[in-house]
């Protein structure tokens, strides 16, 4: 079956612009996670959705970052007033229920470059 997909695969923008990154999870997965991976680092947690609700947004670095999942499937990560430090690979993962020990399946990521 289809895995997690993310669009676009690459995004180049200018400092101060607004960007949207999209994640399409595995069909039927209720749990969805966003992570950010900077160069030379492991992925860092941003936000977790259970269904339509953002159950844990403790990883969002500041209020320029926001994410939605209005129908409990596709999610969009939104970044306002982008800064050069936002350049990273943004990863999306989904899991069936969001329960302990469950495997998270990752997408290919969106590589964001802020000039």
């Amino acid at each position: 079956g289809a895995g997690v997909s993310q669009t676009p695969s690459n995004k180049v923008t200018e400092k101060g612009k607004y960007v949207e990154l999209r994640c399409d999870p595995i069909s039927g997965h209720t749990a969805l996670y966003w992570y950010r991976q900077s160069l030379g680092q492991g992925p860092e947690f941003l936000i977790y959705f259970q269904g339509t609700s953002a159950a844990d947004d403790s990883g969002l670095p500041n209020d320029r970052f926001f994410a939605v999942r209005p129908e409990g499937s596709v999610s969009t990560l939104k970044i306002q007033r982008t800064e050069r430090g936002d350049s990273a690979v943004y990863l999306c993962a989904s899991s069936l229920e969001g329960s302990s020990g469950e495997t998270q399946y990752f997408g290919p990521g969106t590589r964001l470059l802020v000039l």
């Binding site: 895995g3 997690v4 749990a31 996670y33 992570y35 030379g40 680092q41 492991g42 992925p43 860092e44 947690f45 977790y48 159950a55 844990d56 990883g59 990863l91 993962a93 969001g98 329960s99 302990s100 020990g101 469950e102 495997t103 998270q104 399946y105 990752f106 997408g107 290919p108 990521g109």
Partner: protein, 115 residues
């Protein structure tokens, strides 16, 4: 704060050599542990995971890992590596008592296998 440490940044081995990649975590209580692999040009995929039971966990492609609670370690092993094992390996942990089961990743270890 919870953290995961991978002490080897880059490991270079010849084919048929044995592999052990170190991973230590700093969680105080129970913990779920994972090893993910990222092959060149591909997305993160699960190698193996531990959440309870037998501390020796076997995964795909001949990999195994041992959970040693007293040492806060979850080292990855393979008795004989192949060129196709060239990839980046990430250790990750999650708190099974938390609501979101977000993963905390180490910085990764790049493995290069020389034919």
């Amino acid at each position: 704060a919870q953290s995961v440490s991978q002490h080897n940044h880059h490991v270079i081995l010849s084919e048929a050599a044995s592999l052990e990649l170190g991973c230590n975590y700093s969680y105080g209580g129970t913990v779920n542990l994972f090893w993910y692999v990222q092959y060149p040009g591909q997305h993160l995929q699960l190698l193996l995971k531990y959440f309870s039971g037998d501390p020796l966990v076997k995964g795909i492609k001949g990999f195994e890992a041992e959970f040693i609670k007293s040492k806060f370690s979850f080292n990855l092993r393979k008795p004989s590596v192949q060129w196709s094992d060239t990839a980046e390996y990430f250790c990750a942990a999650s708190d099974p008592t938390a609501g979101s089961y977000q993963l905390t990743f180490g910085k990764g270890t790049k493995l290069s296998v020389i034919p």
